[in-house]
């Protein structure tokens, strides 16, 4: 029996440690530890409620946009205007969030995950004329290879010319994701930490020049997603076919849905959305979302036990670092007492299971190309594939939505801040189901709770000792070489963890 400790886990957001116990080459136990606590929920207390969308974006600079949306939805609800957001405001929120999430998926595959599969050093053998690749070749020849080495060695399977092309795509993806951020900025002002989304709608007004600029930036995203990103994911999945089975995990998936397609309905769990709200398990039979089933446990987290097991609307954050039996700053959210994974796979699978025709076609054709059954979705490659499908569905929708904007019509509705109120905001962020809960007293924030995608995925054991989704995905994995545990990092990174989010 031996221990593998990986700290820090890199090419993710934030401070994560993964510790596994390996027996006869198989992971017997896994622990996921979140290692940074800032206490943003405590910082929010006593502030003007409208500050929530500014402060909560700062939970995470990789996925700020979705926090802005969740906070704005919670505030819409608390301010009594959840059913009054003008269509322009609803659509512009979708445009700001969607462009951000689509570029974030590109960033994840190429700049966070790809180096697990692609051997950059093969560019040293490049003999062609591409100036970008030749500059990388010069870089390798100079011999200072940071940040691309050190790295785990021994399981790069792509042939040299495919590696070279993948490095070219890595560089192209840097440009595409930058353009994705420019797309966000058109209506969001700037990004990271944009300003456009506020309770009541958005701050900006649509003009024809902005609409046109947005449209043509999105078309560049679409072109890359269709012709580079999705083919590359399929190529990697084919070369690493064993990862269509490795890392299945808990096989329960949760989606809050995202991208409102209608105004007027104050119930976020039933509002018509591009991605559907609900749950699925291994049988891919969908169930509707019931938010009363969500609770957060802290028995194995560094918080006071007195706050365990509560619904987030009643949640509390009372740090107690070093508490006996605890090993992480991440709390342990559960749905109906069971372990649920969230993420692109969650929203794609739930939307697929509800029979959405666009999603059916995309998922079925990708699975057919891989000659893989639907069960392969529950795997490392399934998560990458779902992320690419999520990017495509979003980008294709943005192209339509931007043309639905009506210049000259309102984007914002006024409200008064109530003396006392509460609100819940739900969306699906890049990394999955995101919920914000606010309680207002004396026109100030009395309590704020965020249950974030990676809170679900990187959670430690819950009060009943059930390991979290990443822990479950690691347990049972065969590790070929404990000094180069590719398998563990590929599994963890496929979840696209974001620890600043998870703990906040």
């Amino acid at each position: 029996m031996s221990k593998i400790v990986i700290d820090p886990v890199t090419r993710i957001e934030g401070h994560l440690k993964i510790e596994t116990v390996v027996e006869n080459g198989v992971v017997k136990d896994a622990r996921s530890t979140g290692n940074l606590f800032r206490g943003i929920e405590l910082i929010l207390r006593g502030r003007d409620p409208r500050d929530a969308q500014v402060i909560t974006q700062r939970i995470c600079g990789v996925c700020p946009q979705s926090h802005g949306v969740a906070a704005a939805l919670a505030l819409d609800s608390a301010f009594g205007v959840a059913d009054k957001i003008p269509d322009n405001g609803r659509i512009m929120r979708n445009l700001i969030q969607g462009a951000h999430v689509a570029q974030d998926h590109v960033l994840h595959f190429y700049h966070l995950a790809a180096l697990d599969y692609v051997d950059v050093t093969d560019v040293a053998k490049y003999a062609g004329k591409d100036s970008e690749l030749n500059s990388v070749k010069d870089f390798i020849a100079r011999g200072e290879l940071g940040p691309f080495v050190p790295r785990y060695e021994g399981d790069y399977r792509l042939p040299p010319e495919v590696n070279q092309q993948a490095v070219a795509h890595y560089l192209k993806a840097l440009e595409i994701r930058r353009i994705g951020h420019e797309t966000v900025a058109i209506f969001g002002g700037k990004i990271p930490h944009s300003v456009g989304i506020v309770p009541g709608g958005v701050t900006d007004t649509p003009t024809v020049d902005k609409i046109t600029a947005y449209l043509w930036k999105v078309k560049r995203l679409q072109d890359f997603i269709d012709n580079v990103y999705i083919p590359d994911v399929l190529a990697v999945a084919n070369a690493y076919r064993d990862y269509c089975e490795i890392g299945a995990g808990c096989r329960n998936l949760l989606s809050y849905g995202a991208y409102d397609l209608e105004g007027g309905n104050p119930d976020l769990t039933r509002r018509k959305r591009l991605f559907k709200q609900g749950t699925v398990s291994a049988d891919l039979k969908p169930a509707p979302l019931d938010m009363t089933k969500v609770s957060e446990g802290v028995k194995h987290s560094w918080y006071a036990d007195s706050s365990t097991g509560r619904h987030p609307s009643q949640g509390e954050t009372r740090p107690e670092f070093g508490k006996a039996g605890a090993y992480s700053w991440v709390k342990a959210p559960r749905y109906d007492g069971k372990v649920y994974e969230v993420g692109p796979l969650g929203r794609v699978a739930v939307t697929y299971a509800f029979g959405d025709p666009v999603m059916k076609k995309l998922v079925d054709s990708a699975l057919a190309e891989l000659k893989a059954p639907a069960s392969a979705l529950f795997s490392v490659m399934g998560r990458h594939l779902a992320r690419a499908v999520s990017a495509k569905v979003i980008a294709d929708s943005l192209e339509r939505w931007v043309l639905e904007l009506k210049p000259g019509e309102p984007t914002y509705v006024e409200y008064t801040i109530p003396e006392e109120s509460q609100g819940m905001g739900l969306t699906d962020a890049a990394r999955g189901a995101l919920g914000h809960w606010i309680e207002i007293k004396g026109k100030k924030i009395a309590n704020y709770q965020a249950v974030v995608p990676t809170t679900w995925n990187a959670s430690p054991q819950d009060d009943n000792g059930q390991p979290g989704p990443i822990e479950q995905a690691l347990i049972g994995t065969k590790v070929k070489d404990k000094d180069n545990p590719f398998e563990l990092m590929r599994i963890v990174r496929a979840f696209d963890p974001c620890l600043a989010c998870a703990i906040h």
Partner: protein, 295 residues
């Protein structure tokens, strides 16, 4: 022979937004920064940055610690995020030594002692920012205060912003490479390079004429100056109005939002959407202030 300038990037109590913003650098691109000679004959050798580096775990901690010993006195240390200190220092840890977690305060201290210079990237590193907002649950401190508390005397440049514009970081680094560390007169009292932080948002704001005329937006989407909707442009030093963000696409006030004041030490000590109160408006607004119009 290309000169290699070693750079290590240490994440404290951060959100990674500063790193993501750096990825948005338009010219030079982030690829130019990482791979090419950023200025002729000089390559930035990024030896440690957990968000993008290939390796993981012990091997990258070794890369970090090797830089500290092998490149002693020659590497640039960039820090994003504030630094949890004192009894709560262990609220932020990264990597282990002899099987025990090492906190960021300890890592920062030893890296700072051996660095050539330190860049505090973003408002959390420069001034405390988000984690240091009351009640500062992690007792997070800005880089400058930690250096003072430990008696470490190293050149420090603050590059605040939530996040900073990529040009502010890249421009500061390029300036060091081309002409050495900045002279004291090139930085303001908050150790910000004046070339980027020398003027108030309010001085160059395209809505300034509205302010001088006393025409104020009353709700989002209105024409007029955003002062009454909480704009912090009158107290915020940065060149956003002329530089613009995301390859020049837009900026905060360009999207109809008040400036949030994110490059300032005061950030987040006010309500973002409430009018500034009892603030003397320095440098600008002389006519408006003396005539009391629009008040």
């Amino acid at each position: 022979m290309v000169k290699e300038i070693p750079l290590v990037w240490l994440p404290g109590a951060a959100c990674t937004g500063c790193s993501i913003s750096l990825l948005n650098s338009a010219s030079p691109t982030i690829k130019n920064i990482l791979v090419d000679q950023i200025v002729p004959g000089v390559h930035i050798n990024l030896r440690f940055h957990p968000t993008i580096m290939a390796g993981a775990g012990e091997q990258v901690i070794k890369a970090l610690e090797d830089t500290m010993t092998l490149k002693k006195g020659n590497y640039v240390l960039a820090v994003d995020g504030a630094i949890p200190t004192g009894p709560t220092a262990n609220y932020c840890v990264m990597g282990e030594r002899n099987g025990k977690a090492v906190n960021i305060e300890a890592r920062f201290t030893e890296l700072a002692e051996n660095a050539l210079a330190i860049l505090a990237v973003g408002t959390c590193a420069a001034f405390g920012g988000i984690p240091a907002a009351p009640p500062n649950p992690s007792n997070s401190q800005p880089v400058r205060k930690v250096l003072e508390a430990k008696g470490i005397k190293k050149p420090l440049i603050n590059i605040p912003g939530c996040p900073p514009h990529p040009d502010w970081f890249v421009g500061t680094v390029a300036s060091i490479l081309l002409k050495g560390l900045p002279q004291p007169e090139e930085l303001d009292d908050n150790l910000r390079p004046l070339v980027f932080y020398g003027k108030l948002i309010h001085e160059n704001c395209p809505r300034r004429a509205y302010f001088d005329e006393g025409k104020f937006a009353k709700k989002f989407g209105d024409e007029g100056c955003l002062y009454e909707l909480g704009c912090k442009g009158p107290i915020t030093y940065a060149d956003c109005p002329t530089r613009h963000w995301n390859s020049g696409t837009n900026w905060v006030i360009g999207a109809g939002s008040p400036c949030l004041g994110c490059t300032q030490p005061e950030f987040t000590g006010y309500a973002f959407y409430e009018k500034l109160v009892d603030v003397e408006l320095p440098v600008v607004g002389a006519y408006w202030q003396t005539s009391k119009e629009g008040k």
